[in-house]
């Protein structure tokens, strides 16, 4: 009864809100109309004869370049709508990616629990999809209405791709609903795999859709294929495949998966806290764990994709790069560091809390405090600005603008080192969690040839990547005076390759744990400790080589993550369990960690959206079409903070409503 009343109240509130919005919009239109009427009366004769009416009609039509939204700056409206659309789009593009994987695992292992989880995620997807489409439509109307001149040009450049976009949209709609509604129909046997295929096709269309839209956004940042003076389209495909297109595609796909994982994690957390039965608590605890796992798994490589994107932005336009890291936007990266720090701390905190529900985890809990120290140390270094905001008195006391000690933590050499350490520490945390209830391991030989082949392929591919990168490094066209500074990087890669080969043999001889330890030690020694020091050497003597240092650092860390993950899979395959996992036996504070992860990643997406778009400064299309509207200024960080906060609030509120709507059907079933 209470639930019914509550539902009625919510419906009434929504109705009231819609009514007020309609009233406000109507008032705005009426006011505009009144202004037009007054203007007509002032300029024309009040009598208004038929002749004058004809004359008025013959006034030539002049199209506005910019308009505002009932008195509100068009840029603010487009900012809010586009960001909300992007957030919903990220969710509906990411969730199918892991839903299909979860469903495939369920189908392969005949585990109905996985199948049910995939279905529950898809249920959230279907309602979120309609909201995404509605926001996309609203964004189009806002852009064409408020920025007609700019959109006229963009349509001129990209109109053939817009038809492809529409077709992909139809494709996505078809496969989404086919996937969702055929779940029961294609439940068993070959039908199940046909269902998985429908999910794969849903992903194909969804990802294509995202990549099409990405090209428009990246064209605005790094235009190509057009005459930069006249705007004439010289090569439409070059405009589409512009310089930043692929880096943004890669970054967005990974970020979307992390985003989707953390959002469903938060959904599970809220459900867990409101669960009435032990069964529900266990279910939502497991769902939260999966959400966090997906989020963290995607989040760990995300800084690498972000670094790649940043590097390409520098390559596309050094001016834009300087604005980003050394100019107007440099302080926003301090805020980004805080949010990323929150994500790493929150993710680790959830894992540590999760250890409590696993019997046997006591063996590993002492390590947690050390990981904690490492994470907070990395966070502190990452937060340290190079150029401290000092008063004149403080500057006089220090004798310079830079602090004699903390300045060493503010430069990129230090920040790159701690980011890699942060990733390695989180990965280590995850490995501890995974093995918490595992006891005695099985000999590697017992896993058969498949395991051996998988290990060899993994190691082979990783080494091939490192060799390919080394060859590229050797082939760099560098000044003879600078070239010798590349050699230490090549030597470090050789050491890493040797460590990987050694790890392979150690794994084959049943010493997987030692192999993992060896790789961790070598990687931390090279990528964190040595490269931190060598970064300072390069800053002083061969600044040009710094960019190669960062990529080498990243490559070595990635190779360790990949090889250690595969070793871990076989190390604990069929291992004896010390105790089971007691799903549902996790404190509520862990659920708040999941909420923190969700709010932090949504906010981070809002912040990064502002940075990516704001880098164009007062250009619609960087270097070609200037934004001449009154709103063409870069807002202060405080203003950005308020707008992004509003967007995050709106998104979370809309998500809450959408998820509530998605579960209405279940309640009816239960009551029936």
């Amino acid at each position: 009864m209470n639930v019914k009343k509550l539902n009625l109240k919510i419906v009434f509130t929504l109705f009231l809100a819609l009514f007020l919005v309609a009233l406000a919009v109507n008032t705005g239109i009426a006011e505009e109309h009144a202004e037009e009427t007054v203007a007509a009366e002032v300029t024309g004769d009040a009598e208004g004869s038929a002749e004058e009416a004809v004359e008025e009609e013959s006034v030539p039509y002049v199209e506005d370049e910019y308009r505002n939204f009932f008195g509100i700056d068009g840029r603010l409206i487009v900012w809010i709508i586009s960001q909300l659309h992007l957030m919903f789009a990220a969710f509906v593009l990411a969730v199918p990616l892991f839903v299909v994987i979860i469903e495939a695992i369920g189908a392969k292992t005949n585990n109905l629990q996985f199948d049910n989880l995939a279905r529950e995620f898809t249920k959230l997807l279907s309602t979120a999809f309609a909201t995404t489409a509605a926001l996309g439509g609203l964004l189009s109307f806002a852009l064409y209405g408020l920025y007609p001149g700019f959109m006229r040009y963009m349509t001129g450049v990209f109109h053939p791709y817009m038809y492809v976009y529409a077709l992909c949209f139809f494709g996505e709609v078809f496969f989404l609903y086919a996937y969702y509604y055929s779940w029961d129909l294609l439940k068993t046997g070959p039908g199940k795999w046909l269902h998985v295929f429908l999910g794969v096709m849903l992903n194909v269309f969804g990802t294509t859709l995202m990549m099409l839209a990405n090209s428009w956004a990246t064209f605005m940042m790094a235009p190509s294929g057009i005459d930069m003076k006249t705007g004439a389209v010289l090569d439409r495909s070059a405009a589409f495949f512009n310089f930043l297109w692929m880096p943004v595609n890669i970054h967005r796909i990974i970020a979307n998966v992390a985003f989707g994982g953390f959002v469903v994690g938060a959904y599970a957390a809220v459900k867990f806290m409101g669960a009435k039965t032990e069964e529900d608590r266990a279910h939502y605890d497991w769902m939260g764990y999966i959400g966090n796992f997906i989020g963290l798994a995607a989040f760990i490589p995300l800084p690498f994709a972000g670094y790649y994107l940043g590097r390409e932005i520098y390559s596309a336009s050094p001016v834009m790069g300087n604005i980003m890291m050394g100019g107007a936007f440099s302080w926003t990266f301090i805020i980004q560091a805080i949010l990323i720090g929150m994500l790493f701390v929150g993710g680790n905190y959830y894992l540590w809390n999760g250890l409590g529900r696993i019997k046997g985890s006591e063996r590993y809990t002492p390590y947690v405090k050390y990981i904690n120290i490492v994470i907070f140390f990395c966070f502190a270094v990452w937060l340290t600005p190079h150029n401290l905001p000092l008063s004149g008195e403080e500057r006089a006391l220090i004798g310079e603008q830079y602090h004699p000690f903390s300045k060493f933590f503010g430069v990129m050499a230090a920040k790159n080192a701690v980011v890699n350490l942060l990733i390695l520490a989180t990965f280590f945390s995850f490995l501890l969690y995974k093995r918490a209830n595992k006891g005695e391991t099985m000999p590697f030989k017992s896993h058969g040839n498949a395991a051996r082949i998988t290990m060899i392929i993994t190691v082979g591919l990783t080494i091939m990547y490192l060799l390919w990168y080394s060859m590229g490094l050797k082939g760099q066209d560098l000044n003879e005076a600078i070239r010798p500074y590349i050699n230490p990087l090549l030597t470090c890669i050789k050491i890493q390759i040797a460590a990987i080969i050694a790890a392979l043999f150690l794994t084959f001889s049943n010493r997987g744990k030692l192999a993992q330890t060896l790789l961790f030690v070598v990687t931390v020694s090279i990528s964190v400790i040595y490269f931190w020091y060598y970064g300072f050497v390069l800053m002083e003597k061969a600044n040009m080589v710094l960019r190669f240092l960062s990529v080498t650092q990243v490559s070595i860390v990635i190779s360790t993550l990949i090889v250690n993950t595969v070793i871990d899979v076989f190390l604990f395959k069929n291992a004896k369990e010390v105790g089971g996992i007691q799903w549902g036996k996790i404190p509520n504070r862990a659920q708040y960690a999941l909420l923190l992860l969700c709010v932090a990643i949504v906010t981070l997406m809002g912040l990064m959206g502002f940075i990516r778009s704001g880098l164009r400064m007062n250009w619609h299309i960087y270097g070609f079409m200037q934004d001449k509207s009154p709103g063409a200024f870069t807002p202060s960080i405080a203003y950005m903070g308020w707008v992004v906060s509003l967007i995050v609030f709106l998104f979370l509120a809309m998500v809450a409503i959408v998820f509530w709507l998605a579960t209405l059907g279940d309640k009816k079933k239960k009551h029936a």
Binding site: Y66, V270, A328, G631, F633, S636, G641, V644
Partner: protein, 315 residues
Amino acid sequence: MKSFLKAVAFSLSIIGFFAFVCIYVTGLSGGGGGGGATGVSPEAGEKIYWGDGQCHTCHSIGTSGSATRGPNQEGLASRAAERAKAAGLASSLEYLVESIVNPAAFVVEGYDNIMPKVYDAPIMLSREQILAVISYLQTLGGEPDIEAVAKFAERIPEASGEEVAPWVPPIDVDIKEGELVFFDESRGVTCSKCHVLNGKGSQVGPDLTGIGAVQTPQYLIESVLKPSEIIVKGFETMYLMTTEGMAYNGLLVSQDEEEIVLMVDEDGVMEEYVFYPEEIAQMQKQDVSIMPGNFRDMLTTKEFYGVIMFLLSQK
């Protein structure tokens, strides 16, 4: 429901923390945020004066710049102190601030009230940029006092957020055609015979370089169609009658104890005439511009609006 409300409160606290950090960081970074903020300093002000601010299109400083529409700003700080005293203001700084916030408040004798509000379109300087310019103006004959300048921040209006509907001529025109008309010396009407634009032309009338950044279309239309309505200071016509009864109308080029030089229009050609004091019977300023007032008949509508659009594009 209780757990949901707790979750909402927790989420809101994180959002609030983010907003707080943004505000705090803005304070640390000097409120600049984006936009390539350069802070309040004479150095920044100097850049804005000669750049985005477009101040140099009307004001020279000593021998730097050639604009004459507004007063030369050399020694401005000391002059501002005297004028502040005369106007009953507390300080020279207040005088400078007031002159920028409300350009009509103190129009220097000998100059017209033509200065635009620089915080409005099309210049749209930010509050910080205006403060920087003021600190730079303080260095012209005085010492900058940034702390004192910063105290006037609230007096400077923020750049207007209102959209300014771009002016469009009533018929389709080609800016290039307007440019041709402006410089075309083969015809009777040639603007460049009397106006310099981007270094080209003759300096009989005011230099029009950068005019589009500081003047409205209405002002330009009126100046072309009714040149005598607003005459830029220093470009008034001088009526001179010699003792022999010859009358001349022209622009005063120079005047000292020994001679007076007038630039006179002789059948479309501007020529300088030198007069000695003993041969002048009468001399007085006229409220009529030397610029021809018959452009309405000499230009087609398309040419006329083409010239206006061309001038507006000079930013």
